[in-house]
């Protein structure tokens, strides 16, 4: 196996133990909602966005109108717009690999590769990582379908892996990037968002956070400190 392929597989392991159980949850939900089994892999290939997939199961079971589905997907996945600002897409070869990388830009892929020094990243490594993450989703969904058909009651609580995953990645990000000010602003944005729009806290928090960073940029530039420019050099 090529070293970069191995690196990509290793990268995906940490998020894999978060994704796979969620995939199982998706498969279980699909069966319990009375939907056909093939919907689990279809969601993970056709959409490939975990939170929306889980959300769609109940919407599809209720035959929700397509327009409502479209608006919901737009609102929940709008955060992906922000990933383009910082994801190291230039490390992925143009053409099919880059197209796949953009299609497969799930939260976990963004979080995994945005934190690594760009010079350590190769196209093969990123694509292998993303392909493996998608495989966890698809296989988890099929596992969930099989479990739901054989067990009356699945074990609860594995979805916590997703919480733990993001807690761990946040701890690492705040330390390795010396980004305490950003973390504090983000915490503030999240608190504000939960207070004013509890139903759509994620999107509001991201917008508020971006506005705060724009203000921070203007302030550091006006104060004349070379901080923002010097850090680039």
């Amino acid at each position: 196996m090529r070293p970069q392929t191995r690196a990509g597989l290793t990268d995906s392991l940490g998020v894999g133990i978060g994704i796979y159980p969620l995939g199982i949850a998706l498969g279980v939900l699909v069966v319990q909602a009375g939907l056909p089994w093939w919907l689990a892999p279809a969601l993970s290939v056709g959409i490939f966005a975990g939170s929306v997939e889980l959300l769609l199961v109940s919407m599809l079971a209720a035959t929700t109108p397509l327009l409502t589905i479209a608006v919901t997907v737009f609102a929940v996945n709008f955060r992906h717009v922000f990933y383009a600002l910082s994801f190291p897409i230039h490390r992925v070869r143009p053409g099919l690999p880059r197209a796949y990388s953009v299609y497969a830009m799930i939260d976990e892929a963004y979080a995994t590769y945005v934190l690594m020094p760009a010079e350590q990243l190769t196209s093969r490594r990123i694509i292998t990582g993303q392909l493996t993450m998608q495989a966890y989703w698809v296989l988890g969904g099929i596992t969930g379908v099989l479990i739901a058909r054989s067990l009356p009651q699945p074990i609860e609580g594995f979805e916590f892996a997703l919480v733990a995953l993001f807690v761990v990645m946040t701890l690492d990000a705040v330390r390795s990037r010396k980004e305490l000010p950003s973390a504090l602003l983000a915490g503030l944005a999240a608190a504000v968002a939960i207070l004013i729009t509890p139903e759509n806290a994620l999107l509001t928090a991201l917008v508020v956070f971006t506005v705060m960073l724009a203000a921070r940029y203007l302030l550091t530039r006006r104060s004349g400190s070379g901080e923002s420019g010097a850090a680039d050099a």
């Binding site: 978060g18 769609l56 397509l66 074990i155 609860e156 916590f160 892996a161 939960i194 956070f209 724009a214």
Partner: protein, 108 residues
Amino acid sequence: MPETGYLIAAVAVAGLITLALRALPFAILKPLRKSRFVQALGRWMPAGILLILAVVILRNEIMASPGRLWAVAVATAVTVVVHLLGKRRALLSIAAGTTCYVVLLNVL
């Protein structure tokens, strides 16, 4: 059970919107990548976005069943402590936190 045609159409609509949200910003931002402002955002955003995702996902888990607040709190604390004391091995910390949560929900 909903009709197969409806299910396929729904997956296609949701998939196209998701793909557009992921692809369009990359295309639009390409000329902006050299801008100092976009570079500053690229540097400042990751830690903050991760924190926001962590907070929102934590909150969703609590809202899904408020009675589990204590279990979420304990499991989160275990994850943080194991991660800080255990030389930041992500797999170990995630496994410890998740095992703790599963045990708290199913055994106690």
